[in-house]
């Protein structure tokens, strides 16, 4: 059991008792201004972070990612591997749905089996792809068969929500499901809040569920307002219209901090900005000084990659460009995640050595690159990209910075049109198979890895370690394999990690105690009333 529940329960009860007394409804309503909201009331429709965040209010998952993004027992009390391809989960007893019925293994089976039929384009099938068969042992024991050993199965379940098999019985097709869920008929979960109403891109209104298995939430009503504009959200907080906002922009952070009526909180996020260097023999967007496509691809030379790495002043990126909203990164995941290596040193910044390495590699006069990145996906992506361009120019790599919308960036990146690009990667599961398996394995559809490796990075030893990690059920051995893989990937310098992003929340000091989380979720259940 996680510490969260224990800390919340007495407070929640205290609030409930107080509510019966003098306090009015206003003090019991928590209004949150959020940058993004859900896309449906069907928890299995979308894998988008903002969608899952909203769904966590109504539904629960088998396992839960805590504030530091590490897994904790939730609807499942415990789990173990029975053999190489079978996981057994013990479900918590006495967990009630909003309609009063008890959650059992049948609901879990129903929930997982309906995913492929109702998943949208941001497909949630990624969370259940490893499940080959489900077997109910008794109402509180369930077994999952996998085709091959899958050590990370519990991590997959962090975003698999459990719906009521009875209430959602009719919602098993893509056409029927929105009507069933959005009307509230099927939107029956075991979570801390009941669904009241929702409009797309508008407000999601929720009421407290008194029978929540961890004790009722401290708020009678929660209104989650979608306010996509950053200045609008800040203004709404300062005007007292909302109690909490997420994604406080770095420029406003200090103003809010100085305002005695407000409180702010900051947390490391799961997102790391990586500069990616294409390793194909022929790459389209690297040119010699005359503007002709450079052959052979200079980025395949280890000295060139090291020079680029040395040219990046990560301290400046964090302190000046991101206005303190980050930390220098030296690997593809933040510290303390499962598979991050403590043996990797901080990245040095040395322009002279970078120039010498370029000269040794035969590029003393430099070369030209197009640097692509998004400018509307994560805070600071566009400005970091611009700063990178200037840093690379100092060692003679003439950089044409193209900071563009994610709408254009991702399809083009998928078509392998870029040579040097930067984008953020969030280790949403808190462990390495998600990040390294997607990015660092040689693209191999048959093994299901390397699907986001868009730079043709390939290291046989890394491949071996990643496959070993995925198949190893022993936590210690698996961690060792991922750490070694991470060290090799960092040493190859095809992925240059730049900064770990941080995110901030703001709230009314007199009303709330904020609950910052690494996965950037804003969860009403954990935001406590100030007393």
């Amino acid at each position: 059991m996680t510490g969260w529940g224990h800390r919340v329960r007495p407070l929640a009860l205290a609030t409930a008792t107080l509510a019966l007394g003098a306090l009015g409804a206003a003090a019991q309503t928590l209004t949150i201004g959020l940058r993004g909201g859900p896309e449906s009331l069907d928890p299995h429709f979308s894998a988008l972070g903002t969608h899952a965040e909203a769904m966590k209010h109504i539904y629960d998952t088998l396992v839960f990612a805590d504030a530091k993004n590490q897994v904790q027992p939730w609807l499942a009390e415990s789990w173990k591997a029975v053999d190489d391809t079978t996981w057994e989960f013990k479900l918590r007893k006495g967990v009630k749905f909003h309609d009063g019925s008890e959650m059992t293994a049948a609901d879990v089976k129903f929930s997982i089996e309906r995913v492929p039929a109702v998943a949208g384009p941001v497909t949630t099938t990624i969370y259940v792809k490893n499940v080959a068969a489900i077997e109910i042992v008794d109402p509180h024991t369930i077994r999952f068969k996998t085709k091959e050993p899958v050590a990370t199965l519990p991590y997959d379940f962090v975003r698999v929500f459990v719906v009521s098999a009875k209430a959602a019985a009719a919602a098993t097709t893509k056409e029927a499901s929105p009507q069933e869920f959005n009307s509230g008929k099927a939107a029956i979960g075991t979570g801390p809040f009941r669904y009241v109403s929702w409009t797309p891109k508008g407000d999601l209104v929720l009421d407290r569920f008194e029978g929540y298995w961890q004790g009722p939430a401290p708020w009678q009503r929660v209104v989650r307002k979608e306010m996509s504009s950053d200045p609008a959200r800040v203004a709404a907080l300062r005007a007292g219209q909302v109690d909490v906002i997420n994604y406080v922009p770095s420029a406003d952070y200090e103003t809010l901090q100085r305002d005695s009526r407000l409180t702010v909180a900051k947390a490391d996020s799961v997102y790391v900005f990586n500069l990616q260097l294409d390793q194909r023999e022929r790459t389209p967007r690297v040119y010699d000084l005359d503007g002709k496509v450079a052959e052979p691809n200079p980025l395949r030379d280890a000295r060139v990659r090291e020079a680029i790495d040395l040219a990046i002043d990560r301290r400046t990126l964090v302190d000046i460009v991101l206005e303190g909203f980050g930390k220098p990164a030296n690997q593809l995941m933040p510290d303390g995640f499962f598979g991050s290596s403590a043996r990797i040193p901080a990245k040095p910044f040395d322009v002279e050595r970078a120039k010498k390495l370029l000269a040794d590699a035969g590029y003393g006069k430099g070369f030209r690159i197009d640097l692509h990145c998004t400018n509307d996906r994560l805070p600071g992506d566009g400005v970091v990209c611009g700063a990178l361009g200037q840093m690379l120019a100092k060692i003679g790599v003439v950089t044409n910075v193209q900071a563009i919308s994610r709408t254009v960036f991702f399809p083009a990146q998928a078509k392998l049109e870029y040579s040097v690009f930067m984008n953020g990667w969030g280790t949403l599961t808190g462990e390495a198979s998600y990040t390294l398996g997607s990015m660092a394995h040689t693209p191999a559809p048959d093994v299901g890895m390397g699907q986001f490796n868009r730079i043709a990075y390939s290291n046989k030893e890394v491949d071996r370690l990643l496959e070993l990690g995925r198949a190893t059920l022993d936590d210690g051995k698996r961690r060792a394999a991922y750490e070694e893989a991470m060290e090799k990937i960092v040493a190859d310098r095809a992925y240059l990690s730049l900064v770990v992003l941080q995110t901030a929340w703001g709230g009314q000091a007199a009303k709330v105690v904020l609950a910052p989380r690494a996965d950037e979720d804003t969860l009403a259940y954990f935001i406590k009333p100030k007393r």
């Binding site: 201004g33 896309e39 449906s40 069907d42 429709f45 894998a47 998943a119 949208g120 384009p121 941001v122 497909t123 099938t125 990624i126 792809k129 893509k174 499901s177 929105p178 959005n182 409009t199 797309p200 891109k201 508008g202 407000d203 307002k225 979608e226 306010m227 996509s228 504009s229 200045p231 609008a232 959200r233 203004a235 709404a236 300062r238 005007a239 007292g240 219209q241 509307d376 919308s405 994610r406 709408t407 254009v408 991702f410 399809p411 083009a412 990146q413 998928a414 078509k415 990667w425 998600y434 398996g437 997607s438 559809p445 299901g448 699907q451 986001f452």
Partner: protein
């Protein structure tokens, strides 16, 4: 008259058809919408499955024909992002935009036209100079900036009005409106003001220019010589003659504000269609884009049609079918 209407409707259909082709080709040129939406850790197999499920693996012409086939049956399709019928999605947000836009454009007209006429009638008075000076601000300062200043002043500092969002709604004629209650109006005021400033300035300048020109014309001089009161001259001779350009601009502004009030809607977190369309463009949510643009085209056609009919009412020479 009937021929005129049929002609207009045919034109509209052609423009709407062109619009759908442009959106299809445009989205296709950018890339596969699934690559924007799909989670990064989806395997190749999952990606291929999703693309096939949405029919995005088929040739563009085939996708387009399927779309047209559904459209003929009145089905715009479902949003990729929200998985609800597109028509339902757009219609659910249209009233919010409609009331905001109507309030802004009507407010701008009722205030701007008299002010403009006054400024044209007495061009050298200090009041006229003040009106003209203020109108420069109206169209030279960007909307988003004014919006933020309005919020900071009236919501954050003075706390007189809400900083954004729509007030409580009440159903009238089967549509939820928010202008029926005091709180709803309070929510409407700042965004409507923000949206109207540019139009206000435009109408002031238009009315002033027209009035100045009309005041120098022979018919105004003869009317005055006849001994008619100044008010009658302005109402009967000036206003009628400057009405044609004002009605034209009014129509165009109404249309473009209804369709693209996105900046104001974003700053004031107004749950209208503007935000929806911008987000759908970002997500390459093609069904929403297509349906919305078709709707906007239709809207413009209707507004222009009304404008043409108003021309006829104002000036018999411009009646459809009248000998020019």
């Amino acid at each position: 008259m009937l021929g005129f209407l049929i002609n207009r409707l045919l034109q509209a259909a052609a423009v709407m058809a062109a619009m759908t082709v442009i959106v299809f080709v445009g989205v296709h040129a950018i890339g596969n919408p699934i690559d924007v939406l799909i989670p990064p850790d989806a395997t190749q197999q999952i990606r291929a499955d999703v693309i096939a499920r949405y029919g995005l693996d088929r040739p563009l012409v085939e996708q387009y024909l399927a779309f047209v086939g559904n459209l003929v049956r009145g089905d715009f399709g479902r949003s990729f992002v929200f998985n609800v019928p597109v028509a339902e999605l757009i219609l659910s947000r249209l009233p919010a935009t409609a009331e905001l836009t109507l309030l802004a454009v009507l407010g701008a007209s009722l205030l701007g036209i008299p002010l403009g006429i006054y400024a044209g009638y007495r061009p050298r008075s200090p009041v006229s100079r003040a009106i003209m000076g203020a109108s420069i601000l109206g169209f030279s300062v960007p909307t988003f900036w004014i919006g933020l200043i309005l919020i900071l002043t009236f919501a954050v500092e003075l706390r007189w009005l809400p900083a954004g969002g729509r007030g409580p709604t009440a159903v009238l004629l089967g549509v939820p409106w928010s202008f029926t209650s005091g709180e709803g109006l309070a929510h409407l005021l700042l965004p409507a003001l923000n949206l109207s400033l540019f139009k206000l300035a435009l109408l002031i300048r238009l009315a002033r220019a027209g009035t100045r020109e009309a005041m120098l014309s022979d018919y105004v001089r003869f009317a005055r010589a006849q001994g008619l009161s100044e008010l009658t001259v302005i109402r009967g001779h000036v206003l009628k003659n400057i009405a044609i350009p004002i009605v034209t601009v009014f129509g165009l502004e109404l249309g473009s504000t209804l369709a693209f009030a996105v900046v104001t809607e974003t700053i004031f977190s107004w749950p209208g269609v503007g935000k929806l369309i911008i987000d759908s463009i970002r997500d390459l949510d093609r069904p929403v884009m297509v349906a919305y643009l078709v709707l906007v085209t239709f809207l413009f056609v209707v507004i222009n049609l009304v404008v043409d009919l108003v021309y006829g009412a104002l000036d018999p020479r411009l009646r459809p079918g009248a000998a020019g």
